[in-house]
Amino acid sequence: MLPTKPLPSEQAYGHLLIIITRWILIVAGLFLTLMVPGPMVILRTQILVILLLSVANFYLCAQVLTRKPIQDLVAYGVCAADIAVITTSVILQGGFESNTFIYYFPAFLAFSVALPTFLLVAFAGGALSLYAFISLITLPVPSTDFQTLIIRLLMLTAVAVCGHQYWSMERRHQQALTARTALALHDTPLPPMPVEPAAPIAPTAPAVA
């Protein structure tokens, strides 16, 4: 019998990944904030922001658990909020000197596999430009740290590019599989599949036409 249940969409998985990433950022943020607490006013603000983020993330989580689709606009808003919170934290901790820029890495990871190309370019490009601008104006002058900034930006770009390349590759392959299934159902001659590996690959993978 043919399976009738549709597969969850690529977007649904992407949204789930964004939610998981946010939980990681929230828990890590709370733990690290309480580990070295700053003055009361700052600490209160930090905890308030973290709690607000967790409430918003709980809402998204509830949507997923009740199998309700998350509106694309809401998902994009969440991505923008993540960038805003990380960037604000970087600014508050001195810009270039701040160590919190590393939170961009998991955020970029989630964007790279959850967003379509043009939105990835917009979000990741926007965040990178913002971070580069903040770092440039807070960089001590004269400075040898310019090279460090370039390396940080390069590595952030690397995460976005790697994730997106993988996402594109998988997408192409899965689309080909779906198309073949659909064609087979209509008794149409099957087009050739993209080259697949002969398993296990040893010593190198010969192409199977």
Binding site: L2, P3, L7, Y13, L17, I20, T21, I24, A28, F31, L32, M35, V36, N99, T100, I102, Y103, F105, P106, L109, A110, V113, Q147, T148, I150, I151, R152, L154, M155, T157, A158, V159, V161, C162, G163, Q165, Y166, M169, E170, H173, Q174, L177, T178, R180, T181, A184, L185, V195, E196, P197, A198, A199, P200, I201, A202, P203, T204, A205, P206, A207
Partner: protein, 196 residues
């Protein structure tokens, strides 16, 4: 002999995921080249650094070339290349180019390398690689900055970096599992249709 489904899945993971490692390595090589050209203070240091960059480039040319020819390299070689990258990144963190340990800025190399690795290899292998990376980094920091064990600020900085390293490995593995399940489901459907 027909390969088992799990062996075939593993081969597909290497085949399709390899592109992530290739791109992560190109960025890593570019960053090391910038570092070599920028921070070397004498000809010997520059020569040494450039030789290292050339070795990294040669391995990635080979891996990328095979990929473009639809003959991706095998699992063992790919793992060796990833371990080489981890070794080079650890050397840089150790202080081969500038201050080492917690003061080193080169911990950023580890994040894309871990993510790309997690997209290609099984969760168990990724867990091992992530633990090696985290262990190497923590040990380097504690050896070069023993005060980090008692200074809460330094410990906080180290914890944040280690948490993000673990997150990169973990999130990459999660996405790997999602894609593998989708691929398996689609393949099963295609097989069912063909058998009708």
């Amino acid at each position: 002999m027909k390969p088992s489904p799990s062996a075939r899945d593993a081969a597909k993971d290497i085949f399709y995921g390899q592109i992530a490692i290739i791109w992560a390595r190109w960025f890593f090589i570019l960053a090391t080249a910038i570092l070599a050209l920028w921070s070397a203070t004498d000809i010997f240091a520059m020569t040494l650094a450039i030789v290292l960059v050339v070795v990294l480039m040669a391995t990635n040319f080979f891996v990328h070339g095979r990929y473009l020819m639809d003959q991706p390299v095998n699992r063992l070689l790919l793992m060796g290349v990833c371990l080489l990258d981890l070794g080079v990144a650890s050397l840089l963190i150790l202080g081969a180019a500038g201050p080492g340990g917690l003061a080193s800025e080169y911990h950023v190399f580890l994040y894309p390398l871990l993510f790309a690795f997690a997209l290609v290899f099984s969760p168990r292998t990724t867990l091992t690689y992530t633990l090696i990376a985290m262990g190497l980094y923590a040990t380097t920091c504690w050896v070069l900055n023993p005060e980090a064990l008692f200074d809460m600020k330094l410990l906080n900085m180290l914890s944040a970096r280690l948490i993000i390293l673990a997150a990169m490995g973990g999130l990459g593995t999660y996405y790997w599992r999602v894609q593998r399940e989708r691929r398996r489901e689609l393949t099963n459907r295609a097989a069912l249709v063909r058998g009708m």
